[in-house]
């Protein structure tokens, strides 16, 4: 009896001769085994980067924002670029787990756990930038609306920067809850096969006493579905609000209504690229090629070429509007500061165009979508391109504004600005390496749920359903 019918024509999502027990074995074994040498190398590099970041932040906190190369004209530089970049990356996880759940896309099961983890770590990294950009970071709690002894002087609820505080913290909380509630059954699986005392204690604690009761599963399903329904508009709202940081201002190049959809598409684009980078590493290091298949990679590449093209249309629309509006400030920003190759920052605009719009077009070819090396290379190119996009938006709009006397000198970051960025890479990868070692990187229960409809060795059973008459089929399979 199959709970769901899936055509034999569809590629299997799980390869190999798998039973339920084999799925558990394959995914849980890396948790129980000693980490590989490759893991240690990666982990220590990440920790070293993190330490460098901590020192860079220490300098910034001690000596002030002057440690960075910001000036009166370019008040937002690398830090806000990095913030938007990390938040954008943090969008793919919830997109995969929530939107693809609502669309009933079976392939999400192989990648959702790691993508959600990536979301959480990316949002953690993103949060560092606006917090430390405040300068007096010990005053960071001033952004929270609480009855205080300063009046009470409240925060400005009409400001997009405050909307950001709410959006990012809500997004982080909801993603964490979604991720952790999905992890409970898998932690229980690790707990119930644990041999050592420490593992029994820790995973026993982490699994919250999960038993697998049918009633609990029923509630769990309902919870996942509603959380997915809530996260879907949430994920769209978060980057919309991030784009409002720019769009509600009067700076040429920022003051555009196209920003929300354009930012959301860009976020999905860069997020999927980061998922590709990580999943290709995970499937290689932990030998999970049966679960994260070429089919998964191809599906994600399709999303990349779609969103990359949406972003491309947005760039061209912006450029067109710069000319069509006949506003000389807009025209100057778009035609000179950005699109003119030999203007001071023209290189960054064309770098962005090359990485985000032109190069992903190779994914129109099936061979390229299914090539692991091309995908890995492209996933990095896309993220470089998306970093350039934020840099272009922020810096090219700021460095020459309405008043030529305040035009800034060429802005380039100091070592501590770069160090802070490198440090968030350290934080991100330290978390990700720990996650990949101690957490089930693939949702075990969800793979088991789709195994009998889409596993390679079960696919043949679908034939019986294909030759069956429709009413016979309905009678047999409807509960």
């Amino acid at each position: 009896m199959h709970l769901k019918y899936e055509s034999q024509l569809r590629e299997p999502l799980v390869y190999g001769d798998k039973t339920y027990h084999q799925v558990t074995e394959d995914i849980i074994r890396p948790i129980e085994a000693k980490p590989t040498k490759l893991w240690y190398v990666g982990f220590y590099i990440s920790v070293a980067l993190l330490m460098f970041g901590v020192y860079s932040v220490y300098r910034e906190v001690t000596y002030g924002i002057g440690q960075w190369n910001l000036n009166k004209t370019i008040g937002w530089g690398w830090d806000i670029t990095n913030f938007v970049w990390w938040v954008g990356i943090g969008h793919a996880g919830t997109l995969i787990s929530a939107i693809l759940l609502l669309f009933r896309q079976g392939w999400r099961t192989g990648v959702n756990r790691a993508a959600e983890a990536m979301t959480i770590f990316a949002v953690m990294c993103a949060g560092q930038f606006p917090i430390f950009h405040m300068g007096r970071v010990w005053m960071a709690f001033f952004v929270l609306p609480y009855p205080n002894s300063r009046g009470p002087l409240w925060v400005n609820f009409n400001s997009p920067l405050l909307w950001d505080v709410f959006a990012i913290s809500t997004y982080f909380t909801v993603s964490l809850l979604f991720w952790y509630s999905g992890l409970l059954p898998d932690f229980a699986t690790v707990r119930d096969r644990a041999k050592t005392k420490l593992r029994k204690l820790l995973y026993g604690m982490a699994a919250f006493g999960w038993t697998g009761s049918t009633k609990h599963w029923q509630r769990h399903e309902s919870l996942s579905l509603v959380l997915a329904g809530l996260s879907t508009p949430l994920v769209l709202s978060v980057h919309t609000i991030v784009s409002f940081d720019f769009a509600t201002s009067v700076i040429p190049g920022w003051h555009t209504t196209i920003f929300p959809p354009y930012f959301v598409a860009g976020a999905i684009f860069s997020g999927f690229a980061m998922v590709q980078t990580l999943m290709l590493m995970v499937r290689h290091i932990f030998n999970l090629k049966d679960y994260i298949t070429i089919g998964h990679i191809e599906a994600m590449n399709k999303v990349i070429v779609l969103t990359g093209s949406i972003v491309g249309i947005a760039y061209i629309t912006e450029l067109f509007m710069g000319w069509y509006s006949q506003n000389k400030y807009e025209a100057y920003t778009f035609m000179y500061s950005r699109a003119y190759l030999f203007s001071p920052y023209g290189w960054s605009y064309w770098g962005m165009m090359a990485c985000n719009v032109l190069s992903p077009q190779i994914f129109w070819f099936r061979k390229m979508r299914r090539n692991v090396f091309v995908t890995f290379f492209m996933s990095i190119i896309v993220n470089i391109g998306m970093w350039f996009e934020r840099f272009v938006i922020i810096v090219t709009s700021l460095y020459r504004d309405y008043l030529p006397s305040s035009w800034s000198v060429y802005y380039s970051p100091t070592i501590w600005e770069i160090g802070f960025y490198a440090g968030t890479f350290g934080l991100f990868f330290t978390c990700f390496f720990l996650f990949s070692k101690y957490f089930p990187v693939i949702a075990v229960a969800e793979i088991k749920y789709v195994l009998k409809t889409t596993g390679e060795n079960y696919k043949a059973d679908m034939k019986k359903q294909e030759v069956m008459k429709a009413d016979e089929f309905a009678h047999e399979y409807a509960h």
Partner: protein, 196 residues
């Protein structure tokens, strides 16, 4: 809570589990629960469980969030400390929509997860009796509660005849208690078996 006696039958595939559930219910056994390694769709209906109303709770939490945001912001900006922001209206509803939306989602999500944990009695250091260690791996563990009328041997034979690959009788505490999974623990006050 008192300990009870349970008859446990383990199935290795949902193909045998579903007909067995039907037969167990038809035969009038008191089905305690079925523990599965993944959500088996339709099993809740087969067992006759009612739909969960968790999503209704989520809706209520959500509108609580919306009203919290709207009432707090409007009180703050029109009554407590009206700020003049570029001469714009104090009651600037469109500008509050983002925060109202975010709080709706936040309240709904946090509330639902807490309710879920409360209803399923899930928390760190909560310990429960697990009828089979492989219930979270590859076995579908059907647990029948033994009452005065239950004939143990008959029930075991009945389960085996219906495809159970492993059967046994267990005396266990059906509730939860605080404990650690690295230690063999039961409830502090060991209680007697009530049903036979």
């Amino acid at each position: 809570m008192a300990k009870k006696k349970f008859i446990v039958g383990c199935f290795d595939t949902e193909d045998t589990l579903f007909p067995a559930v039907k037969k167990v219910r038809m035969a009038g056994y008191k089905l305690h629960d079925i523990y599965t390694p993944f959500p088996v769709h339709g099993l809740d209906h087969a067992m006759g469980l009612r739909e969960t109303s968790l999503h209704t709770a989520g809706f209520i939490y959500g509108i609580t969030g919306t009203t919290t945001a709207l009432s707090c912001i409007s009180w703050i900006f029109t009554k407590d400390w009206p700020l003049n922001i570029g001469g714009k209206p104090h009651f600037a509803l469109p500008a509050w929509i983002p925060i109202m939306f975010e709080l709706t989602v936040l309240f709904a999500a946090v509330g639902m997860v807490l309710t879920f944990c409360y209803l399923c009695q899930l928390a760190p250091f909560v310990k429960k009796h697990h009828f089979h260690a492989r219930a979270t791996d590859d076995l579908f563990v059907m647990v029948i509660e033994a009452t005065e009328k239950t004939n143990e041997a008959d029930t075991l034979a009945f389960l085996q005849a219906n495809g159970a690959v492993e059967t046994n009788v267990q005396i266990a505490e059906p509730g939860w208690w605080f404990g650690r999974y690295d230690k063999e623990q039961q409830l502090i006050n060991e209680s007697v078996v009530v049903a036979h």
